[in-house]
Subunit: 199 residues, 2 copies
DNA sequence: GCAGTATGTGCGTGTCACGCAAGTTGTGGG
DNA sequence: CCCACAACTTGCGTGACACGCACATACTGC
């Protein structure tokens, strides 16, 4: 990894971090008060540079969540190959999303602010592509012919999103891991349906 | 329904229709050329009025899809109560999304234009709330206690989205109804899992 | 070291979202 | 039938923003 690449990644994270922090400080209602200039200054770059990395405030604020989602596919691939699909997915997601425990304030900001809804959905949806490929590889199904991998990936992403919302609302009567397990077990089968296996 | 209410609905649809039409005419690449002024003029209202109904071009373009999604819950409720959940969901979705057959150009514009991705996801996600309530009512589960309704609703919305994408890409080797059936059957069980039923 | 390329930055421009206040069109009571 | 009230539409002004362009700067591979 180049110095250039590392610098780029660092600036991107600095901007994203600054954006999320400022958004949290001002709360969902004061989001409009967070100016691009503030984010850029807080991240130590010029407004123009901020705009080279993100094309909207929402995108910057949700960048962390998007990066997290992008890792789901890789997390599934790191599970032992002989593990059943459902257990592998559940274990991979729980490991990725509870180590470390997500920042409640950040998640609340992202998920419960109407102006961020679109970007938040994009962020969670980022998981689908890589995850679908990982599921296809694990189950031996062909993504081009069968919908199972893509549909399951979308269902997993949706389940994570619903679990996050529930975790924020319900409060502390259950760990995030337990909520995730319950949500994922509703939609991920142990093996692909016959129709997918046969082809 | 008041005259006022009807007029309001009519202008909303006029603006949404004009926005989608202009977007299709200019294609995904020329989306930036579609000015707010053009949309408003095409719909027969002032730009300021356009802005009273929608707060972004993307929102106007995706309005039709959003309205469609909002009807999924109602469509499920109109199925006979003794039908198993999976069959009821599949039948409801297929009826809603194939009568009439969706406009390929419109769906392609909404789903395959990167700048519209966030709004498109919002549009499909609109289905989740009402759909989750309908699923909860049908299965006798409690949305506050159990994640099954919300997770299944999210999975259904995701499956519809994936099916749409596949229908656009794959072309004409299968009807949209068949694709929808295949996608939905991956994620909707005939009955809720034990954990949800027991509570 | 040095040429080449990627990245940061300042400036200018066109568009947009939205608050505000006035004009216009529907609504319900006397 | 008419009038007062409310909802909707519209024009204007403002502040912010995304992005193209050109130049300065930092990094890379030879």
């Amino acid at each position: 990894m180049d110095l250039r690449e590392r610098n780029k990644q660092a600036t991107r994270e600095a901007i994203g971090h600054a954006a999320l922090r400022l958004a949290i400080e001002n709360g969902p209602h004061g989001l409009a008060l967070v100016r691009v200039h503030d984010i850029a200054t807080a991240a130590g770059v010029s407004p123009r540079t901020y705009n080279n990395y993100f094309s909207s405030r929402a995108e910057a604020i949700c960048a962390f969540q998007a990066d997290q989602s992008r890792r789901v596919g890789q997390a599934l691939r790191s599970r032992p190959a002989d593990e059943p699909l459902d257990q592998a997915v559940i274990a991979a997601v729980i490991q990725l999303y509870t180590d470390p425990e997500p920042d409640r304030a950040g998640l609340r900001m992202i998920m419960l602010t109407p102006e961020l809804e679109g970007e938040a959905l994009k962020a969670f949806t980022m998981a689908e592509g890589p995850l679908a490929e990982a599921i296809a590889a694990r189950t031996g199904t062909d993504p081009a012919r069968d919908l199972f991998p893509a549909v399951t990936a979308a269902a997993v992403a949706g389940a994570i999103r619903v679990a996050g919302r529930h975790w924020l609302e319900a409060g502390s009567d259950a760990s995030f891991a337990a909520i995730l397990r319950g949500a994922l077990s509703c939609v991920v089968p142990a093996t692909p349906p016959e129709a997918a296996r046969d082809r």
